[in-house]
């Protein structure tokens, strides 16, 4: 009896193992995509179209956004994982740490995406994803209560006090409680930062700026708002927006995700740039979403081809945008963007910095958030809250062996054959929060390279006073210029009658530096601009058409040979916007000035006389 049982057991086990071997391989589509509940419905029709057009089986699987990140290293090795995943850029650090994603070579397709978006998905020296959307927060105000956008955070406080004193609204500006992500734009305006940069311009996990002077100054600002009774306790996203919608609050900081709700509730709002602080404009974090390829995928080549040869085209990208409108990363869709709200977000994001994607960032949120929370509850002083948070973060980062993985940040990557850094040393520096004057290496007066315009740019808020400055390359005195594009030339004097946001522009090609007080920062927007490398025609902010005056005679000149033969129109715009512009005969808001370029390669000279505001255009043969 017993032996019979044993034989049965052995036979059954043997048979089933045999059977298992043959059924082991499971049916799965050639291409499996993990997307969250907002992206999955948007991708579904595209993937179906791809399947139908090319005869490759492809499927979208809906997975919670957070689960995509944590399930990948579990499902991947088990063969259950996706080939492609929708991911947020700040997961890259963790995903790379676990070897879960592979670099993606966009090749010539890279030119079809915005540089800022590609920077977000670059980690170390490799690109890990194909971006499709970029996001940042911006400053919202109720135009009935606050007609003009406040320039600085001190203005925000003054306006808030006035509104409450006049009984026009219950609160002025409301923060999103102790949320650090929404506090960062304020913190950066005061010169605070999360991670400093290493010599390659990458985030450095060993340089924590939560207790930097600027960060504490911003904390003190928020703390003073609370002490003045302008900010109630226990705000969250919902209460903040409800207050804004009902007019109980006049100003908030929030992102594009709030737009559907604000519109539905009929909120009266205007979106503008983040107000500036002593250290320059308020810089929001820039975040991005995109596609990544799983390291566990067996069909990586097909996955790459799907992304590069199918998705990276205007129609699929447009379809994705239509189904889930977020500021797109794909240039063709971005240029046709006509939603004024998203354009305003884009402008607020122009000075943004990438949200760090290094793994150390996960150690920052909790402690940093508590510190901001303490400002609202006033349990400890601003100084103490931020210093102790920074200590906590240092302990956490020191405790876990986190690789100081590099990421590319701030502005665009300057060309290798030019300077890698440009700064404005001078007596303005102590006013801008530097520890001393005439220090080229101080972070607060660095200009950022703008690839679109091929110039270096920076704006700093300076108190009234008389200053001097120069411009230095590569953070050293070896190569420095005065105000006449003269190497080792004289200091430039700068006198401010009141607190002013001063913009500095430096062109490495002409070596000329200009500030927006002494000089007129003027461009020639026109129908020719795309031809000279601007992102679009009629762009007042494209400094490729910058009018320069190195000799200081008041006549600003811009010369180019890059305009193809044809008929064009142009105007002059001051301070990179249409607010102040001159047309024919020097008339403000005057008519466009027409000109003709007789042949390709002909030299065209635009000269602008700042005394009469007239623009003269001459095209030589």
């Amino acid at each position: 009896m017993r032996s019979r049982v044993l034989i049965w057991v052995i036979v059954i086990v043997a048979l089933t193992f045999g059977a298992s071997m043959t059924v082991g391989a499971q049916d799965r589509p050639d291409l499996l995509i993990w997307a969250d509940n907002t992206r999955a419905p948007a991708l579904q029709p595209l993937v179906e179209q791809f399947s139908a057009d090319f005869g490759v089986s492809a499927e979208v699987q809906e997975i919670g956004m957070g689960d995509i990140r944590s399930n990948l290293p579990v499902a991947g090795p088990a063969g259950e994982g996706p080939d492609i995943l929708i991911a947020a850029h700040d997961w890259i650090g963790e995903l790379v740490l676990n070897g879960s994603v592979v670099p993606l070579d966009l090749g010539d397709k890279a030119a079809e995406f915005s540089t800022a978006a590609l920077n977000l998905f670059t980690y170390g020296d490799a690109l890990y994803g194909m971006p499709y959307a970029v996001e940042n927060v911006a400053f919202f105000r109720n135009p009935d209560l606050v007609p003009d956008a406040p320039a600085t955070w001190d203005d925000v406080k003054a306006i808030s006090e006035q509104l409450v004193a006049d009984g026009k609204s219950q609160y002025g500006f409301l923060p999103q409680g102790g949320d650090p992500y929404h506090f960062f734009p304020i913190m950066s305006a005061f010169g605070g930062y999360v991670f400093g940069l290493d010599e390659n311009g990458n985030y450095n996990a060993n340089d924590i700026g939560i207790d930097s002077e600027g960060a504490i100054a911003s904390a003190e600002w928020l703390s003073s708002m609370v002490q003045a009774g302008l900010i109630p306790a226990a705000l969250d996203y919902d209460t903040m927006l409800t207050n804004f919608e009902t007019g109980a609050a006049a100003m908030v900081i929030t992102g594009p995700w709030a737009l559907p709700r604000l519109k539905e509730n009929g909120a009266n709002y205007v979106i503008s740039e983040i107000p500036a602080g002593p250290a320059g404009p308020g810089r929001p974090f820039i975040g991005g979403q995109g596609f990544m390829i799983s390291a566990f995928s067996e069909n990586q080549l097909l996955a790459e081809a799907f992304l590069l040869d199918f998705m990276a085209a205007p129609e699929p990208m447009q379809a994705l945008y239509d189904a889930d409108p977020r500021p797109p990363a794909y240039l063709a869709v971005r240029e046709s963007l006509n939603d004024p709200d998203l354009i305003a977000f884009d402008q607020a994001g122009a000075v943004g910095v990438p949200q760090p994607s290094i793994p150390a960032m996960t150690s920052v949120w909790g402690s940093w958030g508590s510190a901001v929370g303490f400002l609202i509850t006033q349990e400890v002083t601003a100084d103490e809250a931020f210093k102790s948070a920074a200590e906590q973060i240092r302990t956490l980062i020191g405790g876990g062996e986190l690789p100081a993985a590099p990421v590319t940040v701030v502005g665009d990557q300057p060309p290798a054959d030019g300077p890698q850094a440009v700064s404005i040393p001078g007596t303005i520096q102590s006013a801008a929060g530097c520890s001393g004057d005439w220090a080229p290496e101080c972070e607060n007066t660095q200009l950022a390279y703008n690839a679109n315009s091929d110039v270096w740019l920076g704006s700093f808020t300076l108190p009234a006073g008389d200053y001097e400055y120069k411009v230095t390359l590569n953070n050293a005195w070896d190569e420095n210029y005065g105000g006449m594009a003269d190497r080792d030339g004289a200091n430039v004097a700068l006198s401010l009658a009141e607190e002013t946001v001063v913009t500095f522009v430096f062109d490495y090609k002409s070596k000329w530096v200009a500030d927006s007080v002494n000089k007129v920062i003027a461009t020639v927007p026109g129908s020719y601009q795309a031809a000279i490398g601007c992102s679009a025609d009629w762009s007042p902010d494209c400094l490729r058409s910058w009018l320069q005056d190195p000799d200081g005679d008041g006549v600003y000149v811009f010369t180019t040979t890059a305009i193809p033969a044809g008929d064009y129109e142009a105007k002059v715009a001051v301070n990179l916007s249409w607010d102040l512009n001159y047309g024919a005969d020097g008339a403000r808001d005057g008519a466009n000035i027409a000109f003709n370029v007789p042949a390709d390669g002909a030299e065209v000279t635009f000269s602008f006389d700042s005394a009469t505001n007239t623009l003269t255009i001459s095209a030589g043969g």
Binding site: V56, A295, E298, I376, E401
Partner: protein, 537 residues
């Protein structure tokens, strides 16, 4: 039993039991063996797949359970166990296996960055390709012959082009000349040497076939690296068993395996991109005692954990019992009232908690606003540690008093009413009767449930996390941030996963064992206590 027993899959016919053992009729034997065989096929297929997915422990567990089930169903002397087997299987799979696995993980460094075995880590790193010095990278297009063989048209950056077929030397070709028209924009012909250029869907479908193929000869191999590049790419990271190291071939640096920390480390101290998991002995446990216990505010967290569990049970039992006593009659009103009282218990806890969170919100929450309007002052539930704790106990009272009301109602029925008559004779008043008779007798019945409830609340993560996320935050603690209302489980969760950088599963498992031991000790003493109550009976 024969009449009511359900036919479990693979269980014998019911009347089998009543017959003498060993007198199987053939049909029943075949049915039974067929059932067992079917079960075995499914179970072993599952075990095999789990094994293939790289989870040998779960696979072995499944196989052992399956063998056990088969033996139980084949041996006549084990037939009584057949009725318990679903329970036993679930016990083994969902309780015993995870326990052993957790204990095992607690002794390893399984965490972000160390998630794979050494072999898997080396294999993953092997995916990174590099181009050895002097190699050329080509753009490629794929061709296929009638016979289904593939070939590549390669274009180097300098414009020179080649046609690559497996096991043949590269054949130089010229755009717009070699092969047969029509040529495409890049000058690549539609057909060449009997191969046809693949485009559209045909190209997409060919990709899986060609991604690991080698074109050209072994001396000049061409492999496809990505959609944009093909060439003599090689794996950048290669494991060298002789040195027990992975070699970065691009720089020729060996990264030596450190099998006690699970890292590949170079001479200059840098580590390879991936680590692997290894047993690390008691390190996770020593870390609990050197980091949390010593540096963290563990005592404060522990005190609050006990206080929360104790007051939760006390308040909800007191309220539940009071309501049960008040409604201890069978009138329609009492029955309707009792049904209504069950509602808080019937609504999913998560929803109730979020509703309470909204009602307590200092900005327009209905409770806070009402108190504010009535008294001109409202408790700062969100921001004051004391009030936050009070709010948590209040919400937990709402969530759990119906449970105690239900069991007390039942327990009250079980008390012999004759003892009250005896008490009346002795002249006892109502309060004496409650304190000296009802409560002691009730405690005997519900005592174990009180202990279970205490243990549950000791480990109550949902309420703490959903209501205030542990907030308000304590000032001036060491990392990670701790809230005044954090209990042991939410605090340790935060420590292991929350904001402590990468997720450390080994450490989290060690914490789980630590909590298990604490709860175990507590339960032991509580049962000793209930024994004393039982003596009252």
């Amino acid at each position: 039993m024969a009449a009511t027993g359900t036919r479990a899959r693979s269980s014998p016919p019911e009347d089998h039991v009543t017959r003498a053992q060993g007198s199987d009729n053939t049909l029943m034997l075949v049915l039974r063996l067929g059932g067992v065989a079917l079960f075995a096929v499914i179970a072993f297929w599952l075990a095999f797949n789990v094994f293939q997915d790289g989870n040998p422990f779960l696979s072995i567990t499944l196989a052992l359970i399956s063998v056990g089930v088969i033996i139980i169903n084949l041996r006549h002397d084990l037939w009584p166990i057949r009725w318990m087997q679903p329970g036993l299987v679930l016990l083994a799979l969902l309780v015993i296996y995870p326990m052993f696995y957790t204990v095992y993980i607690a002794f390893t460094n399984f965490s972000d960055g160390h998630r794979y075995t050494k072999e898997a880590a080396v294999e993953l790193m092997g995916q990174t390709k590099y181009l050895p010095e002097g190699g050329t990278s080509y753009a490629w297009n794929v061709f296929r012959s009638e016979a289904g063989d593939y070939a590549l048209w390669l274009t180097a950056e300098d414009g020179s082009s080649f046609f690559a077929v497996p096991e043949q030397t590269l054949q130089p070709v010229t755009p717009n000349e070699s092969g047969d028209a029509p040529y495409n924009d890049d000058g690549i012909p539609a057909t060449l040497n009997g191969y046809t250029l693949l485009e559209g869907g045909e190209r997409f479908r060919a990709l899986n076939d060609i991604q690991d193929m080698q074109f050209g000869t072994d001396e000049q191999p061409i492999g496809i690296k990505s959609r944009n590049e093909a060439g003599a790419f090689e794996s950048r990271w290669v494991f060298d068993a002789a040195q027990n190291a992975v070699i970065d071939r691009e720089t020729n640096t060996p990264y030596f395996a450190n099998d006690s920390t699970g890292d590949f480390v170079a001479a200059d101290g840098t580590t390879a991109p991936l680590g692997y998991w290894v047993p690390i002995g008691l390190q996770n446990f020593t870390r609990i005692f050197t980091s949390i216990a010593v540096t963290g505010p563990l005592i404060r967290v522990l005190l609050w954990t006990f206080a929360f569990a104790f007051f939760s049970v006390l308040t909800s039992f007191a309220l539940g019992l009071s309501v049960a006593l008040m409604l201890n009659n069978t009138s329609t009103g009492a029955r309707i009232f009792k049904s209504l009282m069950i509602i808080p218990y019937a609504i999913p806890g998560m929803i109730s908690i979020l509703i309470w969170r909204g009602m307590l919100n200092p900005n327009g929450g209905v409770i806070t606003t009402t108190i504010q309007n009535t008294f001109g002052w409202a408790p700062p539930w969100y921001t004051d540690p004391g009030w936050a704790k009070a709010a948590i106990i209040l919400v937990n009272l709402w969530l759990s008093f119906p449970y105690f009301m239900l069991i007390c109602t039942g327990a009250l029925q079980a008390i012999d009413t004759s003892i009250y008559e005896a008490a009346d004779v002795d002249g006892a008043n109502r309060s004496t009767k409650f304190w000296r008779l009802t409560l002691p007798l009730l405690l005997v019945i519900v005592g174990p449930l009180l202990i279970a409830s205490f243990t549950y609340n000791f480990n109550n993560y949902l309420l703490i996390e959903a209501l205030f996320q542990g907030g308000p935050t304590m000032a001036g603690t060491a990392a990670p941030p701790v809230g005044h209302t954090d209990n042991l489980i939410s605090y340790t969760f935060r420590f292991a996963f929350g904001s402590g950088g990468s997720r450390d599963f080994g450490f989290a498992s060690a914490i789980a064992i630590f909590i298990f031991i604490m709860v175990g000790i507590m339960t032991f003493f509580q049962f000793r206590l209930t024994k004393r109550w039982e003596e009252v009976n």
